[in-house]
């Protein structure tokens, strides 16, 4: 994203993309993250996306909206997004703010997120 240490890392694990946000992102960085991720969905034909936001100490209206729109775009491209690692204080503030993740599934951590996607796949296969 820029010359400094990576703000976000996106790793591929089978047909799943795991995106970890490492630090607070400003609005433009958030949009760049959205674009990078959406591009990679197509490149690797991902079916599942996990966004790990455990490192974020604030998810404000713009942050929530961007995460939701990533999930919406991914869904239109055939991938399911799970948001994992929302900190308890952050969750509390989001509720007070009036934001939530809408229809986007959330899970406690990366492991739970992967389990969620595995269950979906199992249901789809049967």
């Amino acid at each position: 994203m820029n010359s400094g240490p990576a703000l976000v890392s996106i790793l591929r694990q089978g047909d799943t993309l795991v995106a970890s946000v490492h630090t607070a992102l400003d609005d433009s960085e958030m949009i760049r993250f959205q674009n990078d991720l959406v591009r990679q969905i197509g490149e690797v034909r991902a079916r599942g996306i996990i966004i790990d936001v455990a490192a974020l100490d604030v998810i404000d209206s713009f942050g929530s909206r961007t995460l939701r729109s990533i999930a919406d775009i991914a869904r239109l491209r055939g991938a399911t997004t799970v948001i994992v690692g929302i900190q308890p204080e952050v969750a509390f503030a989001m509720v007070r703010l009036g934001m939530d993740m809408g229809q986007v599934p959330t899970a406690l951590d990366l492991e739970e997120g992967l389990a969620y996607l595995a269950r979906l796949r199992a249901v789809g296969a049967s």
Binding site: A24, L25, D26, D27, S28, E29, D57, V58, I59, D60, S61, F62, R65, Q87, P88, E89, V90, F92, A93, M94, R96, L97, G98, M99
Partner: protein, 314 residues
Amino acid sequence: MRVLAAEDRIEPGMIEPYAIATVRNVMATMWRRDDREVRNRHRVFDPTQPDDVENVLVASEEQLAINEALRRLTDRERQVLLAHEVSGAATQMLADEAGSTAGAVAAQLKRTRARLRVEYLLALDHIEPPTDRCRPVLLALSSADRRRQREVDAARHLLECDVCARLSEPLLDRGPVRDDVLHVTIGADPDIVSARRAARDLAAQAGFTGTDLTMLATAVSEVARNIVRFADNGDVTIELLERPRRGIRVVARDMGPGIADVEAALQDGYSTYSGLGLGLPGARRLMDEFNLVSEAGHGTTVSMTKWFDPKGSA
């Protein structure tokens, strides 16, 4: 507002002793790094207390210097400083009275304190600066304004001018002017993150924890974004309050186009445009107090407060 009222009637040379004593405490704390001292600055110097007796002689010298320094301020500067430091008037209240904004008053107070320190040091040593360049240099040092220091070429002047070189020591050898007020200039996306970090840091120092910190930081994020989106630039001032109890006040100020219908802007779903949709009503829900003043063509000022809850919250 007793001091502000009284100040109109008295000669500048006859400022009431208790006002001088309080300002002396403000001055005394300027050279201390212990921030607890800064927060206790309203403790009034009392020469009848045994601990203070041996300080009386020094104090009278200092009082004369403070008196003289106060006299050299403009009437307006002196009024606002005394109202704030002695009577404890909040910047917002002073702003309302002057038809200004809290951010502007806070900036003015900062300049005034910087001037007061310079004039105090000059008065204490009974000297007039030898050149025209001295005061601007000393002021730039006193306000810790690095940009201004470069503009007036302070470093070079200190090499050439013995008086300023000597006075620069007490001016530089101190912590920030006040470590309980932070200003963040808002002009672009990264400033939103800087503003909420600053708020979080100051609040954490003041004892805020957990959810309260996150709610404060989130609210600051929303009002700062509002400035970037709708006004291009402005500033956010974050201030630690001690009265009526401990809290953090955030004042977000811009000179943008203003909000035509404030009531509507505070309703959820007012605009589909990112920012106003949830930003302001959301920020209001995250804080304990929220006040928005906007005038078409003259900008918007949001001031909001979160009170410290020693129990912490969820």
